[in-house]
């Protein structure tokens, strides 16, 4: 393994050794096609179905056939939206939020340009939704409500149980949840919610990149996304990516049995608390109520300091993080998520996202906390603004 401190687990995660071991035979001697009639092919079919069970178990789906494999989270999100609209051409209204992942947000913007009406639900300064806004927006011609479970930048959680209930009680709309950032980090229980569609992505929880899934509640009518040989019961054609599907199944099982959530949370809390205590100009982006945030994410702004410069200094120290600042002449100044939360420009610019994972250790967090003060001090002293960061 490389000698880095990886605190960017919301971007992607390391493939778990257990997952790699599970998929390797399928890159080697187990190369059959699940659609083949011979025993060798049928073995692959069994492996795919085993993986489907593993995914269904992690999501607590009522039926294994509610799980369909895709190539990634974005495909799952795109398909959910397109598939719903295609089945109900008369309904021209969509409800979503301003802080969705691009796979949802950019699709909805496109649909808006092509004549759909989109209600963009606002969030408050802590990144939370007002469910009254949702209730008021629901209409008889609302085809789809699309809301994420966990925000990729801030980790803020939306109450999908309550949202599902509101949607069900007040409309005929289909309820899609982008769950990409939540799976593997918090327990999911789709059986006991009103979620109709739920997207996930393997590489966010230790499967390789290139595999995702869409949960389609039994009875929900979704148009197929890829037409072809009729794989996945005609819902998503294309020869099954067996090694990746097996890996996704293994990652789901690993996530289900993971007992280190409390430790990840403790390390995140330590990192977050220490930074907020140390730097007077450090601000948390997202609700301070930790029960309403992912246990692994801390999005913190260093006011008046450019996030890219902090990131570059941390990078020099071998520490991998993300920033919500897009520092270039053409692009927007800061992330759409932080702007939707009304985070002031000078604060959003200095935002750093730390996202932890199962492989982070206490000494890595300590090393990060050791490195930060000198970096922040240097950039503060260099700034033309009078900044007292400590």
């Amino acid at each position: 393994m490389r000698d880095i401190i990886y605190l960017d687990n919301n971007a992607t995660t390391r493939v778990a050794p257990e997952v790699r071991d599970a998929m390797l035979p399928y890159l080697d001697e187990l190369y059959g096609n699940p659609s083949s009639a011979h025993t060798f092919g049928r073995e692959m079919r069994r492996s795919v179905e085993r993986a489907r069970e593993q995914v269904a178990e992690l999501l607590n789906a009522a039926d294994v056939n509610e799980i369909v494999f895709t190539s990634c989270g974005s495909e799952s999100d795109n398909w959910a939206i397109r598939g719903v609209l295609e089945q109900q051409p008369d309904k021209r209204h969509i409800i979503t939020t301003r802080v969705e992942h691009e796979a949802v947000r950019n699709w909805c913007e496109r649909l808006e340009k092509s004549g759909y009406e989109v209600t963009w639900l606002d969030v408050d300064e802590e990144g939370l939704l007002n469910l009254e806004d949702l209730r008021a927006a629901l209409r008889p011609d609302t085809a789809l409500v699309s809301v994420m479970l966990a925000n990729n930048e801030t980790g803020v959680l939306f109450p999908i149980e309550e949202i599902g209930r509101t949607v069900r009680e007040n409309s005929e709309a289909v309820f899609h949840v982008d769950g990409v950032q939540a799976v593997g980090k918090i327990p999911i229980d789709l059986r006991h919610t009103h979620v109709d569609l739920f997207a996930l992505s393997g590489h966010k929880f230790h499967a390789p990149k290139g595999v995702g899934a869409l949960y389609i509640r039994g009875g929900v009518n979704l148009a197929p996304f890829i037409i072809g040989g009729g794989q996945e019961r005609g819902r998503r054609s294309g020869t099954e990516a067996v090694p990746y599907i097996v890996a996704l199944g293994a990652a789901c099982e690993l996530a289900k049995n993971f007992d280190g959530h409390a430790e990840v949370r403790r390390l995140r809390d330590k990192l977050e608390d220490t930074i907020l205590d140390t730097f007077t100009k450090a601000r948390l982006n997202g609700t301070p109520e930790r029960a309403r945030r992912l246990p692994n994410t801390a999005n913190i702004s260093f006011e008046l300091i450019e996030g890219e410069s902090i990131l570059a200094h941390l990078n020099e120290a071998g520490i991998c993080v993300s920033t919500g600042s897009a520092c270039n002449a053409e692009s927007h100044v800061s992330s759409a998520v932080l702007r939707a939360m009304n985070v002031p420009y000078t604060v959003a610019q200095g935002s750093i996202r730390f996202s932890l994972g199962r492989y982070n250790t206490e000494s890595e967090i300590d090393r990060t906390l050791d490195m930060l003060p000198a970096i922040i001090k240097r950039l503060s002293e260099m700034s033309p603004f009078e900044i007292k960061q400590t």
Partner: protein, 200 residues
């Protein structure tokens, strides 16, 4: 592996001339609302020699901005202010070899801060201007008489030569058409005079 290309990274990690000059003779700032970068340049200027003797910067922005400001201060130290004012807009980019298209504005901001600092210096000088003659270059406080004199003594033909000789036209460049006129007038009358001489 470093975040920025090697030459940028070296100046980003070890920026030269960070800070502010004590009793600065000129201060210039530039900022961008698009990317949020701000740079402040402070200069010490030897008034007799019209030369920059010290340059320091403060910057809030990305590594490209910090590295650009660092290189700019190194470049303009000990430079005549007319030279600094006419520094090519690609000077910083050229020093780094090349800047990515979406980061050229970082270097441009540093140039802007330099021009602001020089304007700041000349504004102060202009406030003290008491001459009766027409002022052509308001950036460097150069009168029409001075420009005519340097053209005559040096047989100057171009604006650039004029700038080198007396600083005129080295700032905002809005007086370039006027200097052009002065050059044309001078050489037209001079030409006429030689024809007359020939005819005689």
């Amino acid at each position: 592996m470093s975040y920025y290309p090697a030459r940028i990274n070296e100046h980003f990690l070890n920026p030269r001339n960070v800070g502010e000059c004590d009793d600065a003779d000129a201060i210039g700032e530039a900022g961008s609302f698009t990317c949020g970068a701000v740079v402040r340049l402070s200069l010490k200027i030897d008034a007799a020699l019209q030369r920059i003797t010290d340059a320091r910067f403060k910057a809030a922005g990305c590594g490209y901005l910090i590295a650009s400001a660092s290189v700019l201060t190194e470049t303009i130290k000990d430079l005549a202010i007319s030279r600094a004012a006419t520094l090519h807009e690609n000077a910083i980019a050229d020093w780094f070899g090349e800047l990515p298209a979406d980061k050229t504005h970082c270097a441009a901001l540093c140039h802007e801060a330099l021009h602001a600092a020089l304007a700041n210096y000349h504004n102060a000088a202009r406030e003290e201007w008491t001459g009766d003659e027409a002022l052509i270059c308001t950036c460097f406080c150069v009168s029409e008489k001075t420009i005519e004199r340097v053209i005559e003594t040096g047989s100057l033909r171009t604006i650039e030569q004029v700038t080198r000789a007396c600083n005129a036209g080295g700032g905002c460049r809005s007086c370039h058409p006027l200097i052009e006129d002065i050059l044309e007038d001078y050489w037209r009358t001079t030409a006429l005079t030689s024809e007359e001489i020939n005819r005689l």
